[in-house]
Subunit: 156 residues, 5 copies
């Protein structure tokens, strides 16, 4: 049975996996969804590796990053690790990250988290179902996850 992985953290303040599982069940029928929860963002690359080793075709990771400088360094290390994993395996690992300082209120942060998680879950489903050119109709279209799309720049 084909499978897709969802890795998240106990550090996050929004249960983004709930939205992701909802989208994946809808858009990847027939796939087994394997969950794996780790403490924080720096544990996500290892978690994604374990999910790929189990046979998952793709993984979505759900990270949450604090506002301090040291949190940004942890973000950099975690991102580098997720990218190296993809370079070594060629598998799709979609990285959803919410930064605590990208919103003014908790309410807004929760809305960003849900929007970003849902849209990226749909991105992952589309790429697994339809292959390399699944997202090509939207190439250069200024899509955004976590808020409204900004659209393409049109030259006069």
């Amino acid at each position: 049975m084909r499978c897709v992985g969802v890795a998240d953290t106990t550090f996050a303040r929004v249960d983004m996996a709930r939205f992701v599982v909802e989208e994946l069940e809808k858009h990847l029928p027939g796939y087994r969804i394997v969950r794996h929860t780790v403490p924080g963002i720096k544990d996500l690359p290892g978690a994604a590796k374990r999910l790929l080793d189990m046979g998952c075709e793709g993984v979505i990771t759900l990270g949450w990053v604090g506002a301090k400088e040291v949190d940004k360094l942890s973000y950099l290390a975690a991102s580098t690790g997720l990218i190296i994993l993809q370079v070594l395996t060629g598998r799709i690992v979609i990285d959803v990250t919410v930064h605590e300082d990208e919103a003014e209120s908790e309410e807004e942060l929760a809305a960003i988290a849900e929007d970003r998680a849902r849209k990226h879950a749909r991105n992952l489903a589309k790429m697994l179902r339809e292959g390399l050119e699944a997202l090509t109709p939207w190439a250069g279209m200024g899509l955004r996850q976590g808020g409204p799309d900004v659209g393409p720049i049109t030259r006069r």
Copy 2:
């Protein structure tokens, strides 16, 4: 005999391994606990590698980081190394780090160190005992190590 590794440093100002060993003995009965001490944070990824090569199923590393800019760069390099180790092996390496500038007093720093070390030792034990979904009941719950949990964000 199953084993779990504990890597720490002589640079640290709190003997975090003492708390970690206490927790692991309690929560991972039957496991051999292998210790390995190195000079500083940049030596921890190599230490963790040696412990994994000895057959440890998981490792917990106990780092201590100074307050200067160069210490933060060392933190970034060490974190990247620990993450690459996990990406290459798929094994769990839980990274406990205390930053000297995250508290006002030595007393407070010692309290952070103990809390963070104990909680992450319990995280590691739980993950080794119960597998991928061991921490899933707390996903997105805003858990913190080193201080009280902040809890999830609830949308009105």
Copy 3:
């Protein structure tokens, strides 16, 4: 049939692949051009890996980077990943990146994007056709992509 890969993103606000495909069709006749679109810059190293695994001799990636500090960290992680991919494979992966803060207006940004994409597509074509010394006549000549060349420094 020989092939060349083009990886781009839905995050970008200019459809740079259009210009790249135009140039590659002209300057790499007989090559199959394989496109692959991913959400954002951090997905490009994995995309390039998949294109190389399909047999592409070289790849051009088209990234778009926001103006915030966290975007610059993502740029660093993505660049490191693209470079590691090249170090592991020895294949040519030309990296076109546009930063949203390198221009005053959207009009100017679009012009930069087109110029940089076209010139680098021609660079890639030339290197694939003519080998190691294809660009050697221009070594040290201060070429720029995204704007006019600055030329070499001449000592009095």
Copy 4:
């Protein structure tokens, strides 16, 4: 014959290897000491790799870093490389680094360099002779190389 490696640079302003060789001869009797000198800090990971490939059981690298921002980036790249080497090989590579901006005077810088080099050479010798727990009696004791130890934090 067992061997230990010493990698240093022509960029450094103190001949730290002299102190290191003195300590290793005293504390690792019977080991062959292999030296390797490279231009600067970014060459040290490659130098350490060559020493390990020759069969050295461990290596000590002696780096010297300037005060400018770009020097700090070079420090980060070099440190990451030394750590990756350890993650790939599991061998001990002790990294001695002196930063030109960590002292007010040249005299003080020279004293830091000698103290740090000697102490880390003794760390390396101890680890090679006595194994994983060689430094465990000093875990969490606030040892420092380059100046006096700061000691552990004691909770009231």
Copy 5:
């Protein structure tokens, strides 16, 4: 026939390879000098890999870095890549980099570039000819490339 590689860029504003080839012809008689030119600094690690794969014993890379913050991030990514290449292969890759903001005038920048390129070409030749200890007589002597040596620090 033994060979040595020279990788440079079209981004650079000084044709440093000219000086390097002159030095290598003089100091590495009997070696074939293979050139490879790429667009910019981020392409140098891949270029060096290709030259090593062709059988070159060592490589010298000639990078040129702009003054903006994003250029410094590109420098960091490129340096990390060159170092990882050395860690994986154990081969000598000497990295010559000129930063546009390290001089006040173009004239001075050109002088730095020539001095640094020539001296590092001689370093590479010496290391390839004479092995691990070729530069050891100058260890800790405060040599500089791009300007006059600063010399060792002498303790009173």
